[in-house]
């Protein structure tokens, strides 16, 4: 199968000029197959967040190439990278980061509304289907504060899937949940990976959860082991 994500010789450094130059990533090569379920692990300070931001097209690499679903990201301006993010990527954050002013359903619809500018009946149908899939049909019109931590994270997960992305990036999606809820949420990610065929790349600290993934990338001091 084709690679959804391909990184070649990606380096990232910060500073320069007056402040000392610090290289955080020292040449990363990695490839993610379409439909795979991968974990990215490593101690804090190993460069996980930076790598995730680069893969998420939120910051450009200092050196090296990144291909997202075949599109070369270098040389793209902010508007083009924004469009790529909207079309090909889904984000799940450690703290659900739902928008408090909007209901669960509106939060799920938001990536479509944000990218296309408006939503149609099919989008609404998909949003309620996704909420139903994660057992939140009756909570669709509740605000995030009215939901439990696990429910909030499930809304955030289906929000990431709304635009049928090629790759979902999850940054410690269970880091904020108790062990049992964390296991349930992780199980849900596995199921959605199979059902929707979406590729997942999950940053986690938890080795037991990481072991359930088909593929594991271990990052140490800015290099993949």
């Amino acid at each position: 199968m084709a690679d959804v994500l391909l990184l070649q010789g990606v380096r990232k450094s910060y500073g320069g000029g007056a402040s000392p130059r610090v290289e955080v990533l020292h040449g990363i090569d990695m490839a993610l197959e379409e439909g795979s379920f991968a974990a990215l692990t490593g101690p804090s300070g190993s460069g996980k967040s930076t790598l995730l931001n680069i893969i998420g097209l939120l910051e450009p690499p200092t050196e090296g190439e990144l291909r997202m679903a075949g599109t070369l990201s270098s040389g793209l301006d902010d508007a083009a990278r924004t469009t790529l993010r909207n079309r090909y990527l889904g984000f799940i954050f450690q703290f659900h980061h739902l928008l408090p002013a909007f209901s669960a359903e509106e939060n799920v619809l938001m990536p479509m509304l944000a990218g296309v500018g408006r939503i149609n009946r099919d989008d609404r149908a998909r949003a309620s289907m996704l909420l139903q899939r994660v057992g939140l049909a009756e909570h669709a019109h509740k605000r995030p504060v009215q939901l439990s931590g696990g429910q909030q994270q499930r809304v955030a997960i289906v929000r990431a899937l709304m635009n049928r992305p090629r790759l979902v990036l999850a940054d410690e999606p269970t880091g904020n949940l108790d062990t049992q809820t964390a296991a349930e949420v992780f199980g849900l990610l596995h199921e959605l990976n199979r059902e929707e065929g979406t590729t997942f790349l999950i940053v986690t600290h938890d080795p037991r959860l990481a072991d359930t993934c088909q593929q594991q990338f271990k990052l140490l001091d800015g290099r993949l082991l």
Binding site: N53, G56, L58, E59, D78, A79, T82, T83, L84, R85, N86, R87, L89, G90, F91, F93, H97, L99, P100, A101, F102, M110, P111, L113, A114, G115, G117, R118, R159, N163
Partner: protein, 405 residues
């Protein structure tokens, strides 16, 4: 609904306290602007109307006769000659019916009336009063200066041997409609006439001096033969009277005075009043813009993380910009609606407080749809402009930094 509308509206609705603050600011600002504009416009319209109620908009008089220098001096040479103004003869306008037609045919002139005016004495019993004899054709004169609203008693009739007098003169001489009095010109010609009506011109001095009589009688009394001394002109473009005066002067060769040049101090006072009210409005608008901008800046800082998430999930920066610009616009527009109501209400309330002795309002406030529409449009534009700085700040947020907080 589109993204920009949905998010802008929702953020305003959620930030209740901030939205209330900002709306309050806009509302008060707009109310002040509407109130001041309504009061000043009403006041000025009333002052101008009262001033012009017994005046023509433009008055044409005979041109001055000047002495011509005997020597033509070449350029660059100074003539040590003292050219004095000639002692004026009784200066009148002859062959005036042609000029009157020229005046009437000029654009924006709605009416014109001939007048033969001069000094005279009114006598009743042993009392003599110095007056101004004003010979007019009543029908023409009334088209230039309204008289029906100045009638105190009697009937507006000006047949041969009839006169209209001001109420102070009537009181001084003990005249009522039907009374007779004797008019005498400076040259000594006399005529006995009957009062047909007593008028109130609104100014005591005029009430004491003005005597309106038929044109022909005035010409006879004053010895003008068939000449007149003034042409009174009314125009539809009140504020263009100066231009009209210049045009009429050029077309007729007469001296033309607009109401503005005859009431120089009043015009200056009106202008400075308008300028000061404009200054107030400009500064209030600035204050409103600053209050919108400052509240939105705080809102952007508070919602930094949400903006970052929206950017991360692929919201174009232009849409974020639109969200905050629209918030400014909505706040401006909604605030202007409430502010217009408040300001209009205050202005109407003011007319109930400020009353003349007889209980009628001191002056009517001018609340027209033009004022409200222009206020709303300006408020919308000011809202959008004030939101520009916070909106740019929101649009330029780096999603990584914003989410990290």
């Amino acid at each position: 609904m589109s993204f920009v509308w949905t998010v802008a509206w929702r953020l305003l609705r959620e930030g209740r306290f901030q939205t209330a603050l900002i709306l309050g600011g806009v509302c008060i600002g707009v109310a002040v602007v509407v109130y001041i504009t309504a009061i000043v416009n009403g006041l000025q319209a009333t002052i101008v109307e009262r001033t012009l109620s017994s005046q023509a908009h433009v008055v044409l008089r005979p041109a001055d006769r000047n002495n011509q220098p005997v020597l033509r001096v070449p350029a660059g040479t100074v003539a040590l000659a003292d050219i004095r103004k000639r002692t004026q003869r009784e200066n009148t306008i002859a062959n005036w019916s042609r000029l009157l037609n020229v005046v009437k045919a000029t654009p924006t002139v709605t009416a014109a009336a001939a007048m033969a005016a001069g000094p005279g004495v009114a006598q009743q019993g042993g009392v003599r009063k110095s007056v101004t004899l004003m010979g007019v054709s009543l029908a023409d004169y009334q088209q230039v200066v309204r008289l029906d609203n100045k009638l105190v008693s009697g009937q507006l009739l000006l047949g041969s041997g009839q006169v209209l007098v001001g109420k102070e003169l009537a009181a001084d001489l003990g005249l009522t409609p039907g009374s007779r009095l004797r008019l005498q010109s400076a040259s000594g010609t006399q005529d006995s006439v009957q009062v047909s009506a007593v008028l109130d011109f609104g100014i005591k001095d005029l009430n004491r001096r003005w005597v309106l009589l038929p044109l022909r009688s005035a010409q006879n009394l004053l010895g003008y033969r068939l000449d007149i001394t003034e042409i009174y002109v009314r125009t539809s473009e009140l504020h263009e009277a100066e231009t009209l005066a210049a045009n009429l002067s050029a077309a007729t060769g007469l001296t033309a005075d607009s109401w503005q040049s005859s009431n120089g101090q009043l015009v200056t006072a009106l202008k400075s009043q308008r300028a000061s009210s404009l200054m107030i409005r400009v500064f209030v608008t600035f204050a409103v813009a600053l209050s919108i901008a400052s509240v939105l800046v705080v809102s952007v800082v508070q919602r930094q993380r949400e903006i970052g998430i929206l950017r991360a999930m692929g919201t174009p920066a232009t849409r974020i910009l639109g969200v905050f610009l629209l918030q400014g616009g909505i706040v401006g527009l909604v605030g202007s609606v409430f502010g217009s109501l408040l300001g209009g209400g205050l202005a109407v309330g003011f007319t109930h407080i400020a009353k003349t002795e007889d209980g009628s309002p001191l002056f009517p406030v001018v609340l027209d749809s033009e004022l409200f529409i222009s206020t709303a449009l300006i408020a919308f534009a000011v809202g959008v402009l004030a939101a520009l700085m916070p909106a740019l700040r929101a649009a330029r947020l780096d999603p990584v930094e914003a989410i990290r907080g």
